[in-house]
Subunit: 346 residues, 4 copies
């Protein structure tokens, strides 16, 4: 069986295991205060051209998202986000358990706009009794979104401008940032993102690490005492070096970005084939996820060899599925999938 269900079904890139092996018996301080974490943080600051950014290494995405909210908001504030945003839908109420409301905005392919932020904030303060309503305190966006969409340079700049105008923080969940940056249409880079957000993550789990999310905090107002909050929410890894070693391996020579490009190339191949087969997509994008709408019979026909991720029912005989590729996806598996779809669709 070949799985295209998600982007974290294998372990990690072999270079990481090799580095873990090589460093295994070194003695280092715990809790991320070792030389590998320092090196990896330095690499990230340098890639971002953000010399005063703080970089923290965390294990998982839900954890880093809830920490991003906890460190930024006062008790009465909430986080504006897309209605389909991960924090609003698939984190079991992690944000609410931290005491804050997710304030959902209608979205297109998981994207929201600067003007939505401006108008939500303006309407909030125009209310007679705005103190009775959760105050928006930050904006959460995912790049790439949960539906694989990417933001453009001008869209990011506009959301960030809206945040500056309204006094909100902008947080970017970059669990799939490597794939967003590998999108052929991507017109921004890390220095741009670092300069147009208050904090963001450079996701590792879905990019070829065993696990890990690097949180880059560029806004000094959010840097203070972050490690206390990390520790308090169970986010401080005892053997923190494991994160530093992994990120250092990935970033020393650009492996992180090459793996992102591989994942996207595999999806592009899938999309070209689907287009040739005239299969409609739920949502267009240029990253590592594709959402074709397929007849149930086709999904059934290939199900002995390929598992795709069910997404949503479209009508009585069709459903949208997610095909996710990753750093680990093999060319031949993609070819086999395309062949199977081609055959089943005939």
């Amino acid at each position: 069986m070949i799985y295209f269900t998600c982007d974290y079904q294998e372990g990690c890139h072999p270079a990481i295991l090799e580095a873990l092996q090589r460093t295994n018996f070194e003695q280092t301080p715990g809790y991320g205060e070792d030389a590998y974490c320092a090196e990896a943080a330095g690499l990230i600051r340098s890639l971002c051209q953000a010399p005063s950014a703080q970089v923290h290494f965390l294990v998982g995405g839900t954890q880093v998202n809830l920490l991003a909210v906890a460190c930024a908001l006062r008790p009465h504030q909430g986080a504006l986000c897309a209605d389909v945003g991960h924090i609003n839908t698939h984190e079991s109420g992690a944000i609410e358990a931290t005491g804050h409301k997710c304030i959902p905005l209608p979205s297109v392919s998981g994207k929201i706009t600067g003007d939505q932020v401006r108008s939500y904030v303006r309407d909030h303060f125009a209310l007679g009794n705005h103190e009775h309503v959760v105050q928006p305190g930050m904006v959460y966006i995912s790049i790439a979104t949960e539906l694989g969409a990417n933001y453009t340079r001008s869209e990011i700049a506009d959301i960030f401008a809206a945040c500056r105008e309204t006094g909100l923080y902008l947080y970017v969940d970059g669990a799939r940032l490597a794939c967003a940056m590998a999108d052929a249409a991507c017109d921004w880079d890390l220095p741009f993102l670092a300069a147009h957000s208050d904090y963001f993550t450079l996701g590792g789990t879905k990019a070829g690490l065993l696990f890990g999310e690097a949180l880059v905090i560029t806004n000094p107002a959010l840097q203070k005492d972050f490690r206390y909050i990390m520790k308090q929410r169970g986010g401080m890894l005892a053997k923190g070096r494991l994160l530093g070693i992994q990120y250092a391996v990935m970033l020393r020579d650009g492996l992180y970005f090459r793996l992102g490009r591989h994942a996207v190339a595999m999806s592009e191949k899938v999309r070209r084939a689907l287009s040739a087969l005239q299969v409609p997509l739920l949502s267009e994008n240029g990253t590592n996820q594709t959402f074709p709408i397929l007849p149930d019979s086709v999904i059934e026909a290939i199900s002995d060899r390929f598992t795709l991720c069910p997404w949503e029912r479209v009508d009585d005989t069709h459903q949208a599925v997610r095909i996710a590729t990753s750093w680990a996806t093999r060319q031949e598996d993609v070819d086999a999938l395309i062949a199977a779809l081609t055959s089943a669709l005939r």
Copy 2:
């Protein structure tokens, strides 16, 4: 200036002040463990034909709502509610500050249905990774709703049946229960409500008390240790007798219900006049709130003598307003309002 903006702009029914005066120098235990609270609780149990119900007296609506959630839900659970439900919109994130998500359902005049509950719960557990999504743990409904609507006997019974089938608790926010029961179309009574919910409030603040919400807990599973949680969230009044005295006065001879009927009668008068004037309503109902859609010019024309509550803009020249009447509304003020509207609308 005469205000029709809300139902808590005056103090309280004179009988309450008289009772406070009469009992003022009695010495009683604090924290609701006095004889007046015991009497009032007994009256409520008796009115509800629920001899084993617990009754707790609290000061305000947001407080009682957050306690209702805190006492019932486990950390990963949320409260299903109407999208316009008070807990979802006008409590500054009180539920989220308690750690739980409000899960909004589309509503009609602020009402939801048993089938919405059934289908939400079924869909939740049908999800592949339902553990990644907040689990519905209770249903919150308001009677009357925020838009003045009432539930029928069969609607309540069906929501309660849906809750029983799915293992959720049903909580009824009865801040405006007195007016709901005074609705001419109301086909249920307190014993019915007590038998078809797990807990509900008999609102006092909007019904002629200085302040107070009586929480009636009929489900034994929710009764345990409630007073700890009350105290913890600042909901236990030191001189708890103030609540007992007020509820006793209101319930000994039915004053509570008479005042509800007065409030509704005043609104009925308003509605008849609006109907005669062919003014459309945002939402039909038979309780103490009316939501006419009026030309801006009319609102402006009467604004030197009458203040209504702005609700929502309908088009460039019209807005919906709320006209709320209460136990304290005077017949002559309603007549004056009708006269003013009639004249302005011509």
Copy 3:
């Protein structure tokens, strides 16, 4: 039966009921935005010589304490307090439910010192891994303390200086402030307290109001958005005017302070008698609470007419009890108690 168990067993001073009666049918805005609240806030600012202080009116002590913590602390911070401090012992974990740790310091009669604050904070930051330990973020003191003790001018000044040196906020729980100020040994006044704390309460419930705590926030850093948090935690009274009216009555002509002096005078009388009877006290003080150590037989002997508050067992045949007097304590009841004790102790 005459009760000396606590200072909130009666209703309120008659002048308050009279004012509630007089204003009962006035229409005012809700939520504390009425003219009475504005007047009362102005009176407090003026008494405190703190023209830019914010004043908020809340119903109860646990509520105001948890709000004081919620508005001031970031998630990883805790509140330094006396081990016997109310927030640490008698609020059912209200502070923890708000997400924060009470950090108890050893105390004498419920008092802590500036040097305890300095040394705790210094030791905290001297720790190798201080990020693994709750960071002190504020200091909570009660005036008078739970054991009736008062702070002197220089003690308050020193705690406040310690807070300024260490970057902590100082919050004073003044539930019994009226009695502390009536202490013959009290060498400070409201302007001094306002100038030597970041925020404090002027307690009403124990000082002759039906209920109410006035929170005075002098530090601008703590003023922002306080009303959101009030609303969120159920602390915003719908008919907020009830608090404004009560405080206005109490403060217009100094009634608040006269009632404090009465309560203390009654306790002084008790203390003089106990001293003459050579009854030892658990803790000396000059406010409205006295903690004599009495033989069980004496407590038993007077128990048909007088109820005192059990405090702690001292040995097999003696216990400390609390005798609390209040604004409502009658001279003749104190005389009767003294006579009874005198007779029983012979």
Copy 4:
């Protein structure tokens, strides 16, 4: 420089890296629903003779502790623990951030007793106003304790009996369980522990894994919906198999226990040498931590080659330090340390 500061300064046992390598390109479901987690859980159930136990794999200790509290307590409940217990001292307020109070009990070498539990609970419910005080809901003990002490079979049985009598849950933090079981004086085993607690952890991070804590829940009342809460608090590892693989390697053939015995043997060697040198210990124990009281001059003298963990100052010229050994400690390093101490102490 050789470090004896803690038990997590190296990576992991080589067999683990080897297994990660071997399985690296297998495709498995995420979130702990893979065959390796199932195998490891089965091994643990079998070792514990607890066929109906739930086993969950988590990344770190603070995380598992806060989940243990979140899944068990209602909002008004707290966790009884030793004053020096990890949750009370070194988790940055993780338990309070979850809404609950740590209720510290005096301890000896970090140990508490069944009778302390009994008397605390009895005293709590004997209070007049117990609803004003946090209700004890669970007991937290560490085995081994933070000071290296172990519990005996009868001590554990008595604490568990006390919990059963009082209705509290017993949770055992087994971050250092492997070393406790390797203690020569240990008179209990896993089946005993599983039968005499409600849930406990089998710590991995300090026992030779890269990271990991296995939570074993034997009490069915605590099993329901645990995975939701795991996910909500950021405790569900995306590539959950990493935990399953590690535990499976450690438990298939007893490696876990052999490594614990090695760690303890190294400490025993240190203790014999210290005893011969007549160095007093802060606290006696038979696990992998030793707390000698050493002259500052000695610590200084060896500090160019050995780093010990500062623990507490004893007097002007002496301090207690922690010497921790682990699965990774080399015989020759222990010999060198002993030689250096011997020489410096002469």
